[in-house]
């Protein structure tokens, strides 16, 4: 989900720090600023995390409730829901960008076909690698019995 995102017309792009904190919150479920600073974001300053979480809250990506004197933040969307929303928004922008509505669709189909082909090639390579691994394992097993007599001989 790198550097894609426009949430509606008013929301700015999601920065790397925001993405990182969002990922940390998806991992934990919910957290206060202190939890994050003591856990996944030890390299970040308390105020940096606090400001970034506040920004995400204002972008309506997080919900928060008071927990003592601090806020406890939780993601409003699951990772999948956010991907879907982001992708939908990106497609809508793409469709709106051209007066000929079929053109962006054809570009999209081209890209998807290319990606599918690449993915199938990758899977084919993985299958071949696995086959080689299996054949290697079988040949090693095949060699094993022939070693046994010689081992016995040396023992004698």
């Amino acid at each position: 989900m790198k550097h894609v995102f426009h949430f509606g017309a008013t929301s700015p792009q999601l920065g790397p720090l925001e993405e990182r904190l969002l990922e940390a919150l998806w991992e934990r479920g919910n957290a206060t600023v202190r939890d994050l600073v003591n856990g996944a974001c030890q390299d970040l300053a308390y105020t940096t995390v606090m400001t970034t979480l506040d920004r995400l809250f204002k972008k309506k990506l997080l919900s928060r409730e008071t927990d003592g004197r601090a806020f406890r933040y939780a993601p409003r969307f699951t990772r999948e829901e956010l991907y879907r929303q982001v992708a939908g928004e990106a497609f809508r922008q793409l469709m709106d960008a051209s007066s000929a509505s079929s053109l962006p669709l054809s570009y999209l189909v081209d890209v998807l076909t290319e990606r599918d082909e690449q993915l199938l090639n990758h899977l084919h390579q993985v299958v071949e690698a696995k086959r080689r691994e299996l054949r290697g394992g079988e040949s090693r097993r095949g060699e094993a019995p022939s070693k046994k007599p010689s081992q016995r001989q040396t023992q004698r």
């Binding site: 076909t113 599918d116 082909e117 993915l119 199938l120 899977l123 084919h124 993985v126 299958v127 696995k130 086959r131 299996l134």
Partner: protein
């Protein structure tokens, strides 16, 4: 009037039970989705299908075993009791639900039969695979044919395109055929037809997950070791290049189908095949089932008259 009132009351109870149980299944499904790594995928597929059919079975059993007998035995025939709007509306709702389900299944059957007859217009029988006939199909006058699919409900068969046959090696073809035969043995097309009968809003997600689970269960049934799993994975890759995945025709089980993410998940799952998937599921002795059934029957026999009286009171309340 007595008969009309009886039908309206029975259909009303059917609709109420069906909707309430369907809603409960929907909510339970959303609350705790099953994770495929914890259970064998075949068991998950069976469980999902049972969950999907549970509302229909429950509503039918309650209506047939309690509502109808309680009305026939306990409702006085002599009294010409007026019927309220609620049972009338619910009764019409029940009849509508039944008609929609039957029409839905009929349309699906007709569409499936139309597709199969078009695909097999110039077909040749090849051989049988595990007592299931395999038919070779070829594209006729711009009709695209699936690479490989299991079709038919009463007389199931596997349709194999000439292109797929020539593209796959003998081992790949055998595992792919085994996959389709597994669909036939599990009667997946019949189950799909039954699902058409029990339409209910909000169940699409459950049905989609069931479809994925049936494909993976058929993959598991088709292979028995890592080499065969790789053969099937390779067959899926080759046939995906041949025909882009698209939705299967209704009441058929195509080897290559959309969405692509499911196809990729299947291929990755086959590549990561492990012997643990061969471990047979613990089978419960039929004695347990028989014992449970006998206990249920005995419990109902002892309390049946009381239950009928209570059901009758409830239906009286409904009618008024």
């Amino acid at each position: 009037m007595f008969a009309a009132r009886g039908i309206a009351v029975s259909l009303s109870v059917f609709v109420i039970v069906y909707c309430v149980v369907s809603l409960a299944v929907c909510l339970c499904w959303r609350a705790g989705q099953l994770h495929s790594r914890r259970y064998p995928v075949r068991r998950i597929a069976d469980l999902l299908f049972a969950m999907r059919m549970f509302p229909l079975v429950t509503a039918a059993v309650i209506t047939a075993a309690f509502t109808v007998p309680s009305f026939l035995l306990l409702e006085p025939r002599a009294i010409d009791e007026p019927m309220g709007y609620i049972p009338l509306v619910l009764g019409i709702g029940g009849a509508f639900l039944g008609i929609v389900g039957i029409a839905n299944a009929g349309i699906a059957l007709r569409s499936a039969s139309h597709h199969v007859s078009r695909w097999t217009s110039a077909a040749q029988p090849v051989e049988s695979c595990g007592a299931v006939p395999v038919i070779r199909i070829s594209p006729v006058s711009a009709i695209t044919v699936p690479a490989m699919t299991a079709a038919g409900i009463l007389r199931p068969m596997v349709l194999l395109s000439g292109a797929a046959e020539s593209l796959l090696t003998a081992n790949e073809l055998q595992t792919a055929l085994n996959h389709e035969v597994a669909h036939v043995r599990r009667r997946d097309n019949l189950k799909k037809l039954l699902l058409r009968l029990v339409a209910f809003p909000g169940m699409k997600n459950l049905e989609g997950t069931w479809l994925e689970a049936t494909e993976m269960a058929a993959d598991d049934a088709a292979v028995s070791n890592a080499c065969e799993a790789l053969d099937l994975a390779e067959a899926l890759i080759k046939l995906s290049r041949l025909t882009p995945p698209e939705p299967s025709a209704v009441l058929t089980a195509a080897l290559i189908h959309s969405p692509t993410s499911v196809m990729n998940a299947r291929i990755e799952r086959l590549i990561a095949w492990s012997d643990e998937r061969l471990v047979s599921l613990p089978r419960f002795s039929p004695r347990y089932g028989l014992g449970a059934a006998l206990a249920t029957v005995a419990a109902f026999a002892m309390t049946y008259s009381q239950l009928l009286a209570r059901v009758h009171t409830a239906t009286e309340w409904l009618v008024r």
